[in-house]
Subunit: 293 residues, 2 copies
């Protein structure tokens, strides 16, 4: 068994981006600029946004954060989105989710200029991805595809099973794995809460991508010998073996599944570190106008 | 074995639409109006557009056709699209494909106002479909879903295999079958030219949707006893048994597969007649502003 080291791969990506930004600066080009809009005081959201800012600084991007009150109206947020859509200094921006309940998330996402939608949540970017046109791919699916590509995993003609059909992970990654290009071309099955013969299906997978949101759902008896296993889940559970009294586990029972898998992502340190790297990739693409020309 | 009679089902849909249009007219409402743009002299395209016009007349819609020369420039076509986008009389319109080679089809499609994109080809409509938001679904996938629904075929938790991943049939229908709603919720596998173990996979299908574009590709040994088989293919081949010297066949070897299937679409008379019905459904939705409010 070989670990798919997301921490190492994401560090490599950041290193590549750092070099490219340095070259841009040396040529007096425009420094990529990512903005984040943060509404309210959700602790997890504040942590994520701070992490994104820190990553931007590290690779040499400019970054800015628009903090807005919890009681910001939908109209005020739409005005901010419009402002960022039109600000030539900003190459890409994200509106950190979740938003307060009185704001329609879909309405906000659809108001973002697709050309600056580095989160890849706008329907235009999803739709373009579906038909294989250049598009911003959202952070987690993009991160999974990078992990697979950079780990030298063959995908062409392989049976890939995706557990979960969420809009931000399962669905897009299932489409990406099935597209007609060199890093995809897998035969993909999407399983979900209504799937009946789940163990039979997962046992046929050469590549198993698990994004079902249930701690240690996938056990060894569900996995084929030699399969590649990508674990998107992350759960904080009590533990008497750590100093903090907690540990992080995934959707896969790592101890037993890792004995059968040929390659597997750990939790933490697998898919997680790739998400911010993906956002940086998209921001660089935005500043170079790679997607929309 | 029971035939899934697309001709009958599409006639029922047209009947329902006719009644609704009559009610709209009785209430002095706006009559739904579908426009079609036809560039060049492609014989098949002219036949399709004529068929669409005829169907519109039959259900009581207004319709109009914009015929443009083969040497129409991209810019001229974009101007026509813009004109139709802004004409309040037109509820929905299509630009008949294929377009002459000097025009970028994707550019034209992306110029159509998604709210009038009754062909459902605009990335916004595809993207909204992916995340389960209201969207115009393109004619063939929409027609397949209507056939399945109106034939009382249970989809929840069923294994559905889709052969083919085209942007206009295989990909969208695979997503639709897997969405979390009462007419879907199937466990879906998408097979394509790179799939290795295709017979093994098709043999596990409770519902087999074939859109692979190869005459009589699916044979009886690839199909499970009692499966539902939807055949999207249509091919004109020579025959010494018909007066014309030709006959139409599908992607499925009907004679032998029909003996194993519980329900199956014939070719012709299966999926084919549903496509125009789907376009009428979308045009009615457009005139009622059902999708975008």
């Amino acid at each position: 068994m070989e670990l798919i080291d997301g921490k190492k791969i994401s560090a490599e990506i950041k290193e590549e981006i750092t070099k490219e930004v340095k070259a841009i600066k040396d040529n007096d080009g425009k420094v990529p600029h990512l903005a984040a809009v943060l509404v309210g005081n959700d602790q997890a959201s504040e942590t994520y946004v701070a992490g994104k800012e820190k990553a931007c600084k590290k690779v040499g991007f400019s970054s800015s954060v628009y903090k807005m009150d919890e009681d910001t109206t939908e109209e005020q947020l739409l005005e901010t989105v419009e402002f960022l859509n039109n600000d030539p200094e900003i190459d890409g921006f994200i509106v950190q989710l979740p938003l307060p309940g009185h704001i329609d998330e879909n309405k906000i996402i659809e108001a973002i200029n697709p050309e600056k939608d580095v989160d890849g949540f706008h329907p235009v970017n999803l739709g373009r991805m579906v038909i294989g046109l250049p598009a911003y791919i959202s952070a987690t699916p993009n991160g999974i595809m990078e992990l697979i590509k950079r780990s030298g995993i063959e995908t062409k003609g392989k049976n890939c099973v995706v557990l979960g059909r969420s809009n931000i992970v399962g669905r897009p990654v299932s489409i990406l794995m099935s597209l007609n290009n060199d890093n995809a071309n897998a035969t993909v099955t999407v399983c979900h809460s209504r799937t009946k013969n789940i163990k039979e299906i997962t046992s046929s997978a050469d590549i198993l991508i698990v994004a079902i949101g249930k701690p240690e759902f996938v056990t060894a008896d569900m996995v084929k010998d030699g399969a590649v296993v990508i674990d998107v889940g992350i759960h904080r559970v009590k533990s008497d073996k750590t100093k903090s009294g907690y540990k992080l586990i995934g959707d896969v029972k790592f101890d037993e599944v890792s004995k059968k898998a040929s390659k597997i992502t750990p939790v933490p340190g697998g898919v997680g570190p790739m998400t911010i790297a993906s956002l940086l990739i998209n921001t660089l693409k935005a500043s170079k106008k790679e997607i929309y020309g």
